[in-house]
Structures are given as C-alpha cells and as structure tokens.
C-alpha cells in the first residue's frame, strides 16, 4: 500500500489510512464469547441427567445435557395452543425478548408477539436454543463433565435430527402432547421438516420458511469457506481456545462476512450500498474500507464474534450440511411425509438464492405426492434469504391467514382482546 502511495501520492483531501484500518477491526482484547450464558443462561433451562441420555445420530449417548428455552404467552387448559419456534444458524431462544449479551430486541419480534401473526395473546410460544448452540443449550462451549473443561472439538458432531430430538425432550418436559405449530426459517425450517417427518401426530401445522429438504452443494461450499476461515485463524488452536484465550475472532468474523453476503441479494446490496463511499468523498488508494458495503460487512463480522462461539459455528454449519431428509427415507422425499396428518404452509422468497423457490417446490411436490394438506406461497421480495426476518407484509398475511384458519379447525379461541 505505502509503495503504491509513494509512487502515485495520496489524493489531496483524502484521509490517510493507517495500517490498522486495512484489516477488519475486531476487538482482540476481549476473549471470544464464552459468557456465563453458556452454562447458566438468563432464560429457563431444563437439565437432563446422566440417566436420561440423548442417543445422537453419530452413535454417541449424550448425557448429561441441558436445553435453554424461553416461553411467551400462556398454555391453555387443553394444552392445544403451543407453538415451537425453531431458530436459524446463529439465532437463539430470545425470539421475542431482549438478547442478554447484545441487549438488542428479539430476532423475530416482527412475527411473534402480542397482535403479531403468531399472537402470544393466543398462543403459547416456546423457543429453545438448539443442541450445539452457545446460549445455554449443551454445545462445544459447554463444560464437558468428564474433563471439567469446555468440550471444544471433543463434542460429538450433531445433526438436525439430534436438535429436534432434544426439542422433543423439552416439549415432553413441558407436558405438551401435540404442538399446534412448529415454524422456522432457514435451518429453523429444516427442523420444522424433521419434526413433521418424524412426529406428524405431534405437529398440527408446520410452517417451513425459506428452507430446503437437503443442503445443496453450493451451500455446503459456502459453509466450508466459513469453517476454513475459522480454522485458519491461529487463535483457534484446534478448537481449544475456550480456556480463556482470545479465540479465532478474525476467522469467525470473516466467516460471518462471507455468510452474510449469501443472506442478501445482489439487488438488495445494490439498493442499500451501490458503490457509495464510507465517510469519505474519494477513494483512498488503500485497502481500508472505502466502500460502504465493506464497512457494513466488517461491522457484521465484528459484532457477530461478540455473541457467538466459533466452535458452535463449526458444529451447526456441519449439521446443516449433513441434512438430507430424503436420504433418511430411502432417497424418496415423499416417504418422509407418508400418512402425514400435519397441515403445511411452505414459504419461499423470489430473491433467495441460498434456498431458492425451486427447493421449496420440491418439498411441496413431495407433500402433493402423499396428498398432504399444503399451502405454498412464494413471496416477492428483493431482500434475499434474510427476507424471512424482515418486514414482508405478504409473509405476515400468509402466516396469519394460515394460522387463523388452522386454529379455528383446532378449536383454539380468538385472543381475548378480540383480534387485531
């Protein structure tokens, strides 16, 4: 950089970048998030003992383990109004309440809350941190009881099915036989499909949003880039950074930056940033974040590492890669839903290239092949995969209409306020 500048000179008026500006700014003085939330979450938590092991897909019996969860609303006397919300890769149980680490509002408050499509005045909403997560459910950041130290890479590789099995234990623990609905987007949608496939009788309605029945080669490829970024960071230390070391903050930040691009669309990036410069009027002829889009991505990366465990990121992306619902059912996706009694509402977004409409349609085709009750809506949006978390009125109208019709059929009363 400096060589180039000596030759060409820095343009008059342009700020002089220093070296520290070149690399995405990640606060290296803070150890990577291994907060008290890992073992003792601010939310509710159910602890399963040594005598209640969870048999994982990889063959390991996991015990003891714990599942952290939040609930919103009230369970009715018939226990018929429970809704399970499944979160995506970096989500957590704080779906409709402030995050204890970042202090930010719940990640799906636009969908879940009083008067929202999933109305907490009407439904009892359960959201749990997935197995393998780092917000209170057992995962690689948790203490391995056999060693007294964080599991790190000794944690068994988990799958979407394992996450669902852990949720089943939680729902059992809450004394709920049948969930009125299981819903979620992205990896949350994978859990929804797994629930519906394995426990149709316990799932009255299923709402898989912006998801797929199997992880595509392209998606596995992006995940591998993210994992390699984490592992290439020397501070990762083969996953043993948890003992108070700094941890792979740079690697995880780069992983998040790359992943974040896949959550958007070219249109959305162009609309939001175009080629606009960040706090400057001219290019600096350096590698500092001249463009707004660079600055935005760096921010996404650095704020992510403050709340997420790098090993958790490796395990959860792996679980998504392994997901293939058809393969679990003799390579015929329709077999996963044979004799299903669940009512489905499948939703995709036009600009989602991570889980394109084509992949949602495969799910719909499989459901049609068993004559299941299915609605399918493709929402027009230019916001890419992230659209499922954003203000998309068509998504809300779809979920509201579907849920209300099903609730009437299930005999769940209107909210006490008399609706919206």
């Amino acid at each position: 950089m400096s060589e180039a500048q000596t030759r060409t000179g820095t343009p008059a008026g342009a700020p002089r970048p220093d070296d520290a500006d070149v690399v995405a700014e990640v606060a290296l003085e803070k150890p990577l998030a291994r907060s008290t939330e890992v073992d003792n979450p601010s939310s509710d938590v159910v602890r399963f003992t040594e005598s209640q092991p969870l048999r994982l897909d990889c063959g390991v019996d996991l015990a003891p383990y714990q599942i952290a969860y939040k609930t919103y609303g009230t369970l009715n006397a018939e226990k018929s109004n429970a809704v399970l919300v499944c979160h995506a890769l970096t989500g957590d149980q704080y779906v409709a309440s402030n995050h204890p680490v970042t202090g930010r509002p719940g990640w799906w408050e636009i969908m879940i809350g009083p008067g929202r499509p999933i109305d907490t005045d009407r439904f009892f909403v359960i959201s749990s941190n997935i197995l393998g997560g780092c917000m209170g459910s057992t995962g690689p950041a948790s203490i391995n009881p056999k060693t007294g130290r964080p599991w790190g890479l000794d944690f068994p590789v988990i799958t979407i099915r394992d996450m669902v099995e852990a949720q089943v234990r939680l729902v059992d623990h809450l004394g709920i036989r049948q969930l009125f609905s299981v819903l979620g987007g992205s990896m949350g949608g994978m859990q929804v499909l797994e629930w519906a496939a394995r426990y149709s009788a316990r799932v009255y309605t299923a709402i898989p949003i912006a998801t797929a029945a199997w992880h595509s080669a392209q998606n596995i490829a992006f995940h591998e880039v993210g994992r390699q970024a984490v592992m290439a960071d020397p501070d990762w230390q083969q996953g043993r950074y948890c003992d108070g070391a700094i941890g792979p903050r740079r690697g995880l930040s780069v992983a998040r930056m790359a992943a974040h691009i896949t959550y958007l669309s070219e249109e959305a990036l162009h609309r939001k940033f175009g080629r606009s410069l960040q706090d400057r009027t001219q290019k600096t002829f350096s590698f500092s974040a001249d463009f707004q889009v660079e600055s935005y991505l760096r921010h996404q990366g650095s704020s992510f590492v403050d709340r997420f465990d790098a090993n958790s990121y490796l395990y959860i992306t792996r679980a998504m890669d392994y997901f293939d619902l058809a393969a679990e059912h003799g390579d015929v996706l329709a077999n996963a839903f044979r004799n299903t009694t669940t009512r489905f509402c499948v939703v995709s977004f036009t600009s989602d290239w991570l889980y394109p409409t084509r992949e949602s349609k495969e799910i719909v085709q499989a459901l049609n092949a068993v004559a299941a009750n299915v609605s399918f809506v493709e929402v027009e949006s230019d916001k890419g995969h992230d659209a499922f978390l954003l203000n998309e009125p068509e998504l809300f109208a779809t979920v509201t209409g579907f849920v209300n019709a099903a609730a009437r059929k299930r005999g769940i009363g209107e909210p006490p306020k008399g609706g919206r």
Binding site: R343, V364, N373, S375, F376, V377, F402
Partner: protein, 214 residues
C-alpha cells in the same frame, strides 16, 4: 334449493351447481382456483377438505391469506405429482380451455379424482357463431372477453367437442348442465338434445367418472 335460499347471490351460477354436485365432507382439489371463491363456497357449505392450485402468485397468496390450502402451480405440469384417487373430486373450473394439453389434463383429473368436474365456456354458443359468421373475426363476448392475440385461452371447444373428448378418455358423464347468457340453467340433457344445449349454452358443467378402474 341451496343457491336460492342459503347463499348470497354474488356466487357464480356454475360454482353453485358445482357445490350442489359435491358430497358433504369430501376431499376436493380445485385446479385453477383463482381467487378461491369456489373453494371458499365448498368449505362453507359442504365442509370439504379443499385444496387449490393456481398459476398466479398474487392470487395464491391472497387465497392462503384467507385460510385456504392453495399452492402455486399449473394444470399442465403439477397434476402429475398427486397419487391416484387422492381426491373425491378434481375440479377444473373455466380452466381447461387455457391448458396446453386438455386431453392429458382431463385424464389426470380422472386419475387423481374419483370424479372430475369440468366447466368451460361454450364456443358453440349462437352468439359466438354469429359473430364469427357475420364479422369474419374471432368472437369477443362476455365469456370470451379478450382479443385473439391477448387471450389466455389456447384450446376453446364446444359442448359437443367436450362430450367427444369425454368418450375419448373413457369418462362417463354422470351429469351435465349448460347455462344461458343470463346465468339460468337450461333444461336437463334428456329433455333437450345436445345440439340445443350447444347452441344456447354459454357455459357448461360436466360431472365425470372413470369408466374403468385405474
């Protein structure tokens, strides 16, 4: 009778006749369900387990938002997904003339439904015939409102043509009715010959069953 007393007049007459044909509590697939008016009628009056397929994304989304089970798709491609005999009735309401392969679509309807109900605009209606005869141009009528270059209709037929197609795909006509321009049902097939229906009927509704098991 149902459509005179219990339901508002805004319902289309062909919808009301279809609703009369459908047994209570049956499983119904409405192919080309549009805004979902027929599905809603069947749900409200016949308590059916109803599903819809619709080609327009906007209309699909509106249907789902009003609580109907509808997916985006089209008759030419998406009927293949369904298993044999999945529904008591497979309905194609004013849609068959817009399909690419009406014969295959009709066969599919009879495969996935124990019965099929098909309604269509009659190109043999006297008004259509006279327009073509007098003007020498493609007819534009209330039922066929688009100019030839803008119409979604690819395979228009007359009542006689459709009756021929039913024979061709081994469908037994259990019931058929035609409506005149003011929406009144013409007399039954027995009392008035097919030729008269073909001349006076603007729209027709056929209730079909397969003649042979699959």
């Amino acid at each position: 009778m149902l459509w005179r007393t219990e339901t508002p007049r805004v319902h289309r007459v062909d919808h009301l006749l279809i609703a009369e044909m459908v047994a209570k509590g049956s499983r119904v697939l409405d192919v080309g369900c549009g805004d979902g008016a027929l599905l809603q009628l069947l749900t409200d009056t016949k308590d059916v387990d109803g599903r819809g397929i619709e080609i327009s994304r906007e209309r699909v989304n509106a249907c789902v938002a009003r609580g109907l089970s509808v997916i985006q798709g089209d008759a030419d491609h998406d009927l293949l997904d369904y298993p044999d005999g999945a529904f008591d009735y497979a309905i194609l309401s004013l849609t068959i003339q817009a399909t690419l392969r009406p014969k295959e679509v009709l066969s599919q309807l009879l495969r996935i439904g124990r019965r099929a109900i098909v309604s269509f605009p009659n190109f043999g209606h006297w008004h259509v015939r006279t327009q073509l005869l007098m003007t020498g141009r493609m007819p534009v009528t209330e039922n066929l409102p688009d100019a030839w270059y803008a119409t979604p209709n690819a395979h228009l037929c007359t009542i006689k043509d459709f009756a021929d197609l039913c024979r061709l795909v081994d469908a037994r006509v259990e019931r058929a009715a035609a409506f005149n321009a003011s929406g009144q049902q013409l007399g039954t097939w027995l009392r008035m010959p097919l030729t008269v229906h073909n001349l006076l009927g603007e729209k027709a509704v056929f209730l079909l069953a397969r003649t042979s098991p699959l």
